[in-house]
Each structure stands twice: as C-alpha cells, then as structure tokens.
Amino acid sequence: MLLIHCPYCDETLPELEFAYAGEAHIARPEDPSTMSDEEWRDFLFIRSNPKGPHFERWRHVHGCARFFNAVRDTVSDRFLLTYKAGEPRPDLASLEAAQ
C-alpha cells in the first residue's frame, strides 16, 4: 500500500484514503462544439500510458476530498511529486535530477 502526500492537507497518508482519477493536465476544451471528431476523440480516449513518470490525478476522497496532481513512476510505483490542481506541470528533468 502506497503512502501519498496530499498537497492540501500537507500530510502523507495511506493509499486507502485516496482514489485514482486518471491522467492529469487534460483540460476540457473551452468550446467542445468547435472540435473536429478526431480532436474530440483524442480528448476523450487517447492517453499517454508511459513507462516511467506519469502525470496523473488523485483525489483525497476519504479526507479533504480535493483533487490534486501527482507525478508517479509507473515502473517503480514511486511518487516523485504531488501538487495542487491548477499548478503548472512540473519540469520532469529537474524532478528526476532531484531524485
């Protein structure tokens, strides 16, 4: 069971309190009606599925209930960083250098 740091509670807590919520930094388009079928398909279904660091969303569902973002390595299952929703996508190179 993972330990996950909630950036809102500023606490590291067991995975049981959290729920995974899909890939991060996929913003809903401002005006979906202007999107082509292909663009809309990509928004709905196409995800990066990387081997290595993955930007993803979690929700502290059994705590403060906030959605937040995380970088997790899909090989080691290790969290490199968690950060609040709305904050910019962190730079991967500097993150890995810090590890």
């Binding site: 069971m1 009606s33 999107m35 079928d37 709905l44 929700r59 959605f67 929703a85």
Partner: protein, 997 residues
Amino acid sequence: MSQFRIPGKGRVDHAKTVRFAFDNREYTGLRGDTVASALLAHGVHLMGRSFKYHRPRGPVTADSAEPNALIGTSRGPGRFEPNTRATVQELREGLICESQNRLGALSFDFGAVNDALYPLFPAGFYYKTFMWPRSFWDKLYEPVIRRAAGLGRAPSEVDPDTYASRYLHADLLVVGAGPSGLMAALEAARAGVRVTLVDENAEMGGALLSDPGVEIDGRPAWDWLDATLAELASLGVRLMTRTTAIGYYHQNMIGLCQKLTDHLDEIADNAPRERMWRVRATRVVLAQGALEKPLVFHGNDRPGVMLAGAAQTYLHRYGVKVGTRAVIVTSHDSAYHAAFDLAAAGTRIVAIVETRAAPPETLRAEARVRGIELLAGHTVTGTRGRLRVASVTVNPVQGGRVGEPRMIHCDCLLMSGGWTPSLHLFSHTKGSLQWDAESNTFLPGRMTENCHIAGAGRGLWGFEAALTDGAKAGADAARALGNEAKAAPLSVAHDRPGTGESHRELPTDRRSSRVRAFIDFQNDVTAKDIRLAVREGMRSIEHVKRYTTNGMATDQGKMSNINGLMIAADAVGKAPPEVGLTTFRPPYTPTTFGAFAGYHRGATFEVTRRTPIDPWAEANGAVFEPVSLWRRAWYFPKGGEDMEAAVARECRATRASVGIFDASTLGKIEVAGPDAVEFMNRMYTNPWTKLAPGRCRYGVLLGEDGYIRDDGVIGRLSDELFHVTTTTGGAPRVLNMMEDYLQTEWPDLDVWLTSTTEQWATVALNGPNARKVLEGLVEGVDLSAEAMPHMSVAECRVAGFPARLFRLSFTGELGFEINVPARHGLALWEALMEAGRPHDITPYGTETMHVLRAEKGFIIVGQDTDGTVAPEDAGLGWAIGKKKPDFVGKRSLARPDLVAPGRKQLVGLLTEDGGVKLEEGAQIVLDPDQPLPMKMVGHVTSSYHSATLGRSIAMALIEGGHDMEGRDVYLPMPDGTHRARITSTAFYDPDGSRLKL
C-alpha cells in the same frame, strides 16, 4: 523410547509426551516436536505421495521450504487444514493428521500407476492435453488423471475460527531471528531504536538452534541465545515468533501472518487462530538466511533422502537421528559438519560422497580421524528401496567420465548442493539481483526500499560472518534513523565457515531416458522436463517455468529455482544471469484465506446500510434484497404469499387506492450557491435557467462520452438551491463527478456540493388516494392540483416535521415524496400508515416499484442502460437542452458512432403468449430459423408479470428498435423459441391522464 530419539538431547521436553495420530495410527512425540520430527523419531520417513506420479515421499527439509511432507491436520468440525507442512506443524495433544494424495493406503497407492506411465506426462503435459482429441479429455483426463493428481482435499465445512487484523508502526522491523537478525535487532535496540523482530519458527535462534557447539563471546551458542533474547526483551523489543513475513510491499509495508493457536492443546473461546499484521516500518533488516539446495540425481526423491542441514536440525533441535546408516553426498563443506555431528550421536556415516575432486584438507582430516570413508570426485547415479532408501550407487568421475558403480547400503542419504540466499522478500520490492559467478547464485543488488540485508541472505557463510554482518546492519539502520550506533566486536569459537560448488544434474552413467532426477519435488518436475521444454522452444525462464510448472508449487520454488535455472541456462546455452530468475511473489509461504479476510466475513463482510424505516419493515415481515450497500424491503408478503402474489397485490392496491414506499436510499445532493443554476446547466442535459423555484424536473446526467450515467428528479427550492436526487447506487459516483468538474474544470463557479442522502428520510405515496392520505398531515402548503401541480416541490411541515415535499411520480399515479430529517423518518412513516388506514394503505417494496415503473416505461439506469446507451437510444431525447451551448457529454452526442444507424434502442416487448415472462438478459434474433451462430440483435433488459395488465411485459435494447414498432422478434431459449412484438415502452396509461388528479 525409540532407537532414533536420543535421550536428553535437543530442545524438546523429554518429560512431556504428546499423543497424536497419523493415518489412523497412534503415536507419541515430545513437547516441542513437529509432526515430522515426531514421526522421524519413530523411524517413519514415508509421509506422503507426490503430486503427479504418486511417488512415495518423506521430508526433505526441517522447515517451511518443505515440498514433500504435506499433511492434512484436524482438530474437530470445520478445523481441517490441507497441505500443512509436517516440518512446521507443531505437535499438540490429540492432533489428528493424515497423508495426502494417495488412493488407498500410503504404503500401497493405486495412483502410483501414474509413475509407471510417466513417459505419458512430459513437460507441457497440461498444454499438450488441450490439443488431444476431445474424447481424451472426457474419458481419461477429467475422470482419471485429474483425480489422481493434486494436493490435499479442500475443507468442506465453515471455518469456526476467527482471524484478527492489526496495524503496526515500527522504526525498525527485523525479519528473521537467526544470528544476523538477532544482532541487528540488538545493536539497533541498544542505540535506542523501537525494534520489532519476527521469526516464522516456534522459537528464535535460527541456525544457532542447529549448531549448539558454536561459542559466541565465550558462551555456548544456546546460553548466548538465552542472554540475547533476555536483553532484547529488556530493551523493549517486540519479539514475535510463529510470525511469517509473507510479503514486502511498497514503502516498507510488510505483511506478517502470526499463528496463534495451531500449536496449543486447547483453544480459548474466541481466541483468534491467526493475526495479520500490516507493518509500516521506517527501516527494514532482512535476515532471512539461506536455503539449502538438493543435488539432482536419479532417485533423489526417495524417502530417507534429505538435506544434510535438515538432518543436523533434527539431531540438535529435536534429538532425533534420521537414520542409523547414513551416506552423505555433497558439494559444500557444510554437510561435513552434519556428518560429524551425526557420527558423534551414534549414526554410522558409511561414506561421504564428495562431488569435488579436492575438498578442504581440514575436513578430510576430520573425516579421517572419525574413520569416515571419503569418496572425493564421486557422483551418485541412483538410489534403491521401495518406500525408503536402502542403498545408493556411487561412481568415481574422472575427466568427465563416470567410472564403475559401487552400491552402498544405507537407511538415509543426506545431500547438500550448497546454499542459496532467501531472496523472496527482497524480490517483492523489485530489488535487482546480481549473479555471483563464484558461488553460482544470485545475490541482492540495488535496493528500492529503505532496507538492509544481512548475513547468509546476502551470501555470507559462517556464524562470525553472519553475527558481525547483522550487528553492522543494525547499527546502520540505527544511524539511518538518526541514532548514534557502533557495532560492538564479537568473538566466535568453533565456527563452521565453508564454501562449495554448484552443479546441474550430477554426472551419470545411466541412459538419459532412464534418469528421474527431481528438481521441483512438489510439482514432480525432473531435470529432463526442463531440457525438453527448452528443446520444444521455450527460451525465456518464465516460459520454462510455466511449461514445466517448475517453481509453481506452494513452496514457490524455494528449493528448485536455482537448480532449474542452472539446467535451463545450460540447455539454452547461455550464462545463468542472461536467462534470469523467475519472479517470486507473495505470500512467502502458503497463507490461510482466513488471515487475509480477517474480520471481513459473515455479518461484518461489508457494511449494511439501513434506512430509518428499516426496523418497521423488519417488524412487518418484509423480505429484503441488497441494493448496493443498502438492504431494502423487497416485498411485504401477507399470510403465506409468495413473491409473485405479494407483488401483484401491492401493485393492484397502489393503482386502486394508495401505496407507501420507503425511498430513503435515493441519493441526494444539495447544489447551492450563486452559480448553482449555471453549474446545473453544465452538468445535466436539461435546461435549468427557466425552472422556477418550487418546480422540479427529471434530469439526465451523461458522461463526457455521451452515455447515460445517472438520472433523477431535481427540485429547485430557491434561485440558489437545488435538491438533486440520484439513483440509489449512483450517489457517490455522481457527487465525485460533480466535484471533479467543479474543482478542476470550473473552479471559478461559486457552488457548494453536499451529500444529503443520509440526512433525509424519504417516503413515497402513490395512488389515486395519495392526496387524501397526506392532506390532514400537511401544514403550510396547499396540496390542490392547481396550487401544487405535478412536478412541484415545497418546503412545509408534514406530521409536524419540517419537510421537503415533492409532487412527482415514478408509478404513473398521483404521487408525492416526503423528505423529513432522517431521525423523524420512522415517525412520519407511522403517521402516514395511520392516516392511510381508511384507504387501505399498502406498503410495497422494490419489486413492486420496479413493476409499476416498467408499466409506464420509466427506465432504471444500470438495468435498462449499460454504459453504452445514449439519451436518444433510451427515448430520452426530449430531456436534452438542445439550445444550451454546452453540457457534459453534449459534443459526444454528435460523435459518428452515436449518430450512426443501427444503434441499440430501448423498446417495449410483448410476448405472443402473455403468460410467458421472458428472462432478463435473453438474446433476441430476427429469424429463428437462421443457421448457427445466429445474429443477435439485442437483449431483454427488464421483464415482469404485470397484474394491472394481466400479462407479461418487457423492455429490450434492439438494433434500430425505434423504427421496428409492430414487428415480431424471436427469443430462442432452452425450453423453446418465444415470439414477441415490439411496442412502445408505455404499456399503461400512455397519455398520463392518471397524473392529472
């Protein structure tokens, strides 16, 4: 006292005998024995039959790695456990155990015919079987071979034991209480660290228990052990025996399974049998030691053939000689010490067969002193003896040539192929392994967790090396935790260091087709099977493993993995590290389902949610059904009614007068704030801006993919407050989805979302007399059709309680839903029952609710929809706010797939024979005479008998169904094909006139 038990020797209590039974024969053992040691003390080696070939087998180890001596144990009804290791199960008074996997007596097993037929069962047998003619499967495989192969029988009764579960936080967890683990715990505890030390055995000490001649700091090993355990206890170390670290999970979480009662003569009432610990440790020391490898030669599985280290353990821990005439065969120095100790105890060591040409001179000299014949540069090419080894054939090997055989009589053959570090837990962490060419074994490499590995677990050998390394690991861990620590020096006398060589199969002069040299004893895998697998194209070690089943038995390949790898690598023609090791997975040893389930069984398996009105339903004879976590009243049978009769009565009463229904489980969410209406416009398909306060509307929620996710009636209580209802099972999902959009897509909206499902009790009144029942109880609102039309909501008082009163209908009748604070729910229900008495008010359950709504064609999300149904498909196109610029899922309604012809659409279905009730899920075809496989065009989603209509009704999803009204379709069922006509889904009162009361 038998000739095999040495009076006074070992750690067993010679003054306390314990009676037990094995295969219906009474035996006695001593307190402290295992089943295996007690049977060996009686000269019994034959303890089981092998998995596939039914070959006679005896214990090959003295520990949890045991592949052969698996028994069933019992202590009364429900307390039968199969596949228990006789080498681990402690003796208790009255223990009843039995051998396994035999057809007939253990000494004469009819299943042994499999052994004679062994050429039929090569590697990949199970895969090849699938290719054979079907008749083989039906006539031979299933009835004969499958029955003859396998492990113990599964218990058939409910387990009466309880299983506990605990969490533990530790600064340092030390796994394994041998020399390394003890020293690690000691040094860390001395430095002030909070330490937990666990060991799977009944007592701590590890290898020290089998080597009492060693002296540590001037004290005999066992005295030193006592003093060390006393110091650990005085330092506050948590000491846990009979506790197996079964898995090493992320971020230093270790699962421990602690056995609490299996060794006790009597069990206290309610004492848990086992306890699962979930330990989160800041640092971990793995001191799991090493596992001795068998040598691979023809007949290495005969009872009486055993690991040399196991014989040494039986001697020193249990005071048991495993035989009177022993031959040793070894490639490692350690077996010499076993031979010397056994010789000192009176076992005649007939010969030491040494595979190396030049063993160390010191050991040669010691053998010579004891008059033991040493056959260096020799091999073993076979054993004989029906149920127990009686002789062994040895041959000299020179320049790779196997010389003339010589037969040596013996009653036990003790083997050692060297030692392999126990890497299981380390492998769970995905730590990398490094091949050590010198010792021909894998050693732990790069760590992924905050973990230290000490002693034989990282390839060190000898007590001084293990103790020193453990002390260093403990001090390192303490320093990593911020404590000052320095490992104190140790002195060890009479140490037994050693080295050895590794082998594949031992050289032999037998034709290879006649060699049966076992690698995986539990799964009956031979060296030949591994080579055959490679010849048949398996190159990856993972494929070899699955094809041969090597290492896949319940012992997880503890003894077989390295031998299997060495042989596979040789067959592939690569170095072992290029072939690699298969993955070890938790649990380390077989673990009961009870330990995993813990408290989650029976009534505490899951939370049961009950409504405030549930006690009334129970007192009034309701039959319940589970709906998500809720238990809901299903129907209320009267006077011996069955379900069908009760539901028909409830339906008729509701349509004729008035029915009352507990709808408290409906999900409820309050959407509040200045931007509430904008939020609702964006979430739901419907337009909300023009919905006036005091009115409500049926809302449809889509996923962004355009498919229906949920529905429910939503009331607007004020400009800034909506009372949203959801399906019973959908409430958490809907709130999660709303929060997701609010928090991450539209954080600028000023809206608050609150789950109020459990704050409101909800009672539905339906039927032409509903208003009459309610009228006298309502204050503060005019219930007339003019003042409160269909789809209205008002805040008022009902039966004296503050209430949110909805006028709506899920039955097609005049209907009201009264929400009161949950604590008043029962009182409201009772007041309504009382007020309804003149109208013969009838309580109904979920089944009647389902029938009444189906008669009206109202859908149930999740029953009539399945996550691929768009609003148009379900006939809900009218609920789309087409003028709204956007809402969740709107863009997807124009996706190519959603506008393509031939989508499955929801229709009504009336069977030709109204007495036939279709099965929900039944498949629909257009032409019942077409050849198989038929083209299926849809399926039945809802089907009921309608008392109101006097016939069956159904709903179905059918390709292009909306354009097929009036057409006949067919439902082929096992009892014949039914014909049904496609209709509208509004079976009853299609104009809705009954709502207009």
